[in-house]
């Protein structure tokens, strides 16, 4: 008995060690970005995995060069990415939670049809609607960072409504009824009684939307007026797609700047992010 326990402990140690090694390999790509962002461009391709020492050291040059790279100020793309992500997420959270509550509680034929359409929209790939959507958005002047959230609300409503309706249906009706008897209208019932109960789902949906919108490339690429507005993914894709030689060192510097906030966000909200992903996955 003791022997097998010791054997099991040893096996667990070995497993830990193996996973530890895999972990180190896992962070190598990010480490590669870090070391190459300080390396002179000519050495990025030839000495990708060497530390930026001696003649390879570029100091902060890559970062300074990267700021105005591709004839577009990098900080603008950061600004627009933040604006679009925050506005879209806020709009989706408010809009779809209200709609979902209405759908679950009123439950008319129209509500059921709308709900069905939302579920249907989850299996439709973006390519199906991308040309017509970008055209519609253009005609309605939704091609700015301040109006594109409406497009996100429209195309992203499906999953959010699906998740909210599922949760509202599990809330006992008595609580809202008590509020109604105490004289609350639907608006106050929703915001003072339902929203606090929805908070965990709100966090899950919010996390999923932030991850989607922040990293999204094709939708803003097709909808936004690219002369004026670029998000971070669009900007980075422009650098590589542009003619002439690409400065890989400066590109890596920008990529580093782009992923640092993401990693900080992840480490700060890790628990919610993992819970949100697990909740969102159940949509199947």
């Amino acid at each position: 008995m003791n022997g097998s326990l010791a054997a099991e402990r040893r096996n667990k140690m070995i497993l830990s060690a193996v996973l530890g090694v895999v972990c180190v390999i896992y962070v190598l790509p990010v480490a590669a970005v870090l070391i190459n962002s300080f390396k002179l461009n000519t050495f990025v391709k030839t000495d990708t995995f060497a530390l930026p020492t001696g003649e390879m050291w570029a100091g902060m040059d890559n970062f300074i060069k990267g700021m105005t790279f591709g004839n577009y100020p990098f900080w603008n793309s950061v600004k627009y990415s933040v604006v679009i992500t925050l506005l879209s997420t806020a709009l989706i959270l408010v809009g779809t939670s209200m709609a979902a509550w209405y759908i679950a509680r009123v439950n008319s034929a129209f509500c059921r049809a709308l709900y069905f359409l939302c579920v249907f929209s989850m299996v439709v790939p973006f390519q199906m609607v991308m040309f017509t959507l970008s055209n519609t958005a253009d005609q309605l002047k939704l091609n700015t960072p301040w109006t594109i959230p409406i497009v996100y609300l429209g195309f992203g409503a499906g999953l959010a409504i699906f998740m909210f309706v599922g949760f509202v249906k599990s809330i006992p009706l008595e609580i809202e009824e008590a509020a109604a008897i105490d004289g609350c209208g639907p608006l106050r019932t929703f915001f003072l009684v339902v929203v606090p109960m929805l908070k965990p789902t709100m966090i899950s949906v919010g996390i999923l939307e932030i991850m989607w919108v922040w990293n999204d490339y094709l939708l803003p690429y097709l909808v936004l007026d690219l002369e004026k507005y670029r998000t971070i993914p669009i900007h980075i894709q422009y650098l590589k797609g542009s003619y002439g030689t690409v400065d890989l060192g400066a590109t890596m510097a920008l990529i580093l700047l782009a992923i640092i906030p993401v990693i900080i966000f992840y480490l700060a909200c890790q628990k919610h992010i993992i819970k949100g992903v697990a909740a969102g996955a159940v949509k199947g």
Binding site: K12, M13, S16, L19, G20, C23, Y26, V27, P29, V30, A32, K45, T46, T48, F49, G95, M98, A99, Y102, L114, C118, S121, V123, V124, P125, Q127, V129, F131, T132, N135, T136, A137, V151, G154, A157, L173, E177, A180, P186, L187, T189, F190, M211, N215, Y217, L218, I232, P233, I236, Q237, M252, I255, I259, V262, I263, Y266, L267, I273, V277, A278
Partner: protein, 301 residues
């Protein structure tokens, strides 16, 4: 009793109903702009020839015929299928193995989970550029590069996607594994089942719902892949077919639709939209069929 129950649901329903414009209005408007109208218009335009949507003229099924005859499109279809099968198997096997290891109560489980999930936060475009630098860094030692050989492009994409998706699927598998009843595992242990027997006869049947979800997700993710494909190889290298058509050898379906649309031929827009409809039917159909199949298995077990 039943009358009381009826009255209960009605209080909220009746008082809320007239608030339709406020609660449902914004979402319905946005949903029409962002989904319903583009979808209907998209189906209509797939039967039209057009440069600008305003002067589209119906031409019947010509676009679909062109789409199926397009060597680049059929190549993209088979390439996408192959990629999806390979990545589906690899991602799910690795993710399950990691999740299984992390639920054995070993030291550092939380740290490992954090690290493995991290790549999911980074977007596809950025990932593509990171990995193209890494692959080129390795391949330049052999004086070649990721865009020189379609084999490199294929396996490069598989490695990239494993790196990204294993952590995601792992989270779902961990949730499934933690829900396996402890007394069931204990019963198996007391009955003298080996570790492998417990895994295959008790654990795996119990996590079938998670397996369903993960298969469904990796299947549709594989078919819909775009950003990583664009950023890593953008379809390169290109080969010339005997007929004179150029085929991008590492181009997947979503990217093919995109490049077709940007083509200068007068039929390009219509053909791209027809391809998009085919693509939609494929993705939706595959997803639903796969789901129905695994759900059936679940019930049998």
């Amino acid at each position: 009793m039943s009358r009381k129950k009826l009255a209960r649901g009605n209080t909220i329903r009746r008082s809320t109903r007239k608030w339709f414009p406020l609660f449902l209005g914004p979402v319905v408007c946005a949903f029409i702009i962002g989904f319903v109208w583009p979808f209907i218009q998209g189906i209509y335009l797939s039967f039209c020839q057009f440069k600008l949507i305003a002067d589209a003229k119906p031409i019947g099924i010509g676009n679909y015929v062109r789409a199926f005859k397009d060597a680049a499109f059929t190549h993209a279809f088979w390439y996408t299928t192959l990629y999806t099968v390979v990545s589906l198997v690899l991602i799910n096997v690795l993710a399950f193995a990691v999740a299984y290891a992390l639920t054995q109560g070993i030291k550092g489980s939380n740290l490992f989970r954090t690290v493995f999930f991290m790549p999911n936060l980074i977007g596809g475009i950025v990932l593509g550029h990171i990995w193209s630098m890494i692959f080129d860094g390795i391949l330049s030692k052999f004086s070649t590069s990721i865009v020189m050989d379609s084999k490199y492009g294929f396996w490069g994409l598989v490695i990239l996607m494993c790196w990204q998706q294993v952590g995601y699927m792992m989270i779902i598998y961990i949730a499934g594994l933690q829900a396996v009843p402890e007394d069931m595992l204990e019963a198996a242990r007391i009955d003298g089942a080996s570790k492998a027997q417990t895994l295959f006869k008790v654990t795996i049947p119990n996590v079938m719902p998670s397996i369903t979800i993960c298969m469904f997700l990796s299947l549709t993710n594989g078919f819909k892949l775009f950003d990583q494909n664009l950023a890593l190889t953008n379809g390169q290298p290109i080969t010339m077919q005997p007929g004179g058509t150029a085929v991008k050898t590492t181009e997947m379906l979503a990217l093919n639709i995109f490049t077709t649309y940007n083509n200068s031929s007068p039929n390009a827009h219509g053909t791209a939209q027809a391809k998009a409809v085919i693509f939609f039917i494929l993705v939706a159909g595959l997803g639903l069929a796969q789901l129905a199949y695994t759900r059936k298995k679940e019930v049998q077990q």
